[in-house]
Symmetry: C2
Subunit: 230 residues, 2 copies
DNA sequence: ATTTAAATGTGATATTTAGCACATCGGGAA
DNA sequence: TTCCCGATGTGCTAAATATCACATTTAAAT
């Protein structure tokens, strides 16, 4: 991990949150801040390892996963530019990463010393308020996805997840999936085969189109109906 | 809704969070604070209605639910003493309750003006930090439950939920369920009949005992195995 | 270009779960 | 007490889903 020599002070990709800090506070943050690029497929941090940093995604996509029974991983979410990873360790005595994080494409990250981040929180109420807002906006929205997934059956969950990628993750309509069908299945909580079959079904009905990794939602209305029906 | 004349200043059931406020800040909070008792079954607030307060649970249990398709409710969680409800509205422009809340037993509540709460956050970083900690501790733990529920099948989810009641909600081993089987099913995301059948199965295997509303977990080890197996 | 491993598609089958129908129980209300 | 309604138990059936086995395709590495 090399420090590129960039500083927080002159960083051009400042987050909304960090923009609230004074120069003095930024300078302090910087002494515990490290920037780096991770390539596609690289492990950023591993579940259960000590968490001394909060990882800010400047650019790219990151898969957050946990190891389940039988060594089978399951995916919690896809984090993107602007996300703070490991922020839930702020209030822990023993800080361990709750998930593993893997770069899905080449990804630029900042590693922020978690102690320093915590000190800034206590000293700057506005900063803390923004952090709270971030938590609600970013974390709680995928919380809603989870709630739906518990209550719905597999077609509804798949519909959810397609909308999730279109709206939350990529924000474009034809979008390029950076994850495999196996991973998609583990995000939905079903089997790979079921995903294959359902996607095929959706395609036959003209609701979506899948070419390689390029997914297009053709009929939002009907996909929405599937989502609602469960 | 009547104000009982108690004040935040002399309140004897102060939360960890509020304990951090100065007398001056407490006095300010108090002008927008109202205390009340809700009886079993009473609706505290309704999904989709304007949310002008954060509701603090001083004592009791509250069911948080959402209306699904076909008018069928589903339950997100059971909140207990010490919980702040509606806190996720802090950063919204239009504040609407995300869920409905219903008292499961007689319950003491404080209604705190959300604007005043927000002002305190910005002015007192320590207070804000505690709020952040609260959010992680309380919200994120039931987030974990949701994650598991997505990945597991029904027996695993039921096991989850039994542990959830024992450890998170009631904190005792024989515990008295304040919800019906129908509600339990809607918490797990399955049908009432499946819950009945599985509970019976667990009883036949000596893993739990159910008498009326009194649930006893007899064999944590085996229940844990079911949970892990999924 | 060749090789190899991983990812994907697909049919057949076994399990799991939902949904329906109906019986029974239990707790209020009159 | 008696009536009544919601909650609960239970068998049966249909539907959904997982799992297995294997073919095929794609991507990565040499």
């Amino acid at each position: 991990m090399e420090n590129r020599g960039e500083t927080c002070l002159n960083c051009t990709i400042k987050s909304n949150i960090v923009a609230l800090l004074t120069e003095k506070e930024l300078a302090r943050l910087e002494t515990g801040c490290l920037q780096n690029v991770f390539q596609k497929g690289e492990l950023i941090f591993k579940e259960g390892m000590p968490a001394n940093h909060i990882v800010y995604i400047r650019e790219g996509f990151v898969k957050l996963s946990k190891r389940g029974i039988g060594g089978k991983d399951y995916i919690l979410s896809i984090a993107k530019k602007g996300a703070y990873l490991g922020i839930n360790n702020l209030n822990k005595k023993t800080r361990l990463y709750y998930t593993s994080a893997t770069a899905l494409i080449d990804t630029q990250l900042c590693f922020i010393d978690i102690e320093k981040f915590g000190i800034l929180l206590k000293e700057n109420g506005k900063f803390a308020t923004e952090v709270i807002y971030y938590i609600f906006d970013d974390e709680m929205n995928y919380f809603e996805r989870l709630v739906n997934n518990v209550q719905q059956q597999v077609p509804g969950r798949l519909a959810n997840t397609l909308f999730y990628f279109k709206n939350q993750v990529y924000g474009t309509n034809p979008f390029n999936m950076n994850i495999t069908k196996v991973e998609l299945a583990s995000l939905i909580g079903t089997s790979r085969e079921s995903v294959t079959r359902l996607l095929k079904e959706f395609q036959e009905e003209g609701i979506i189109r899948v070419e390689k990794n390029k997914y297009t939602i053709l009929d939002e209305k009907r996909l929405g109906a599937i989502q609602k029906k469960g």
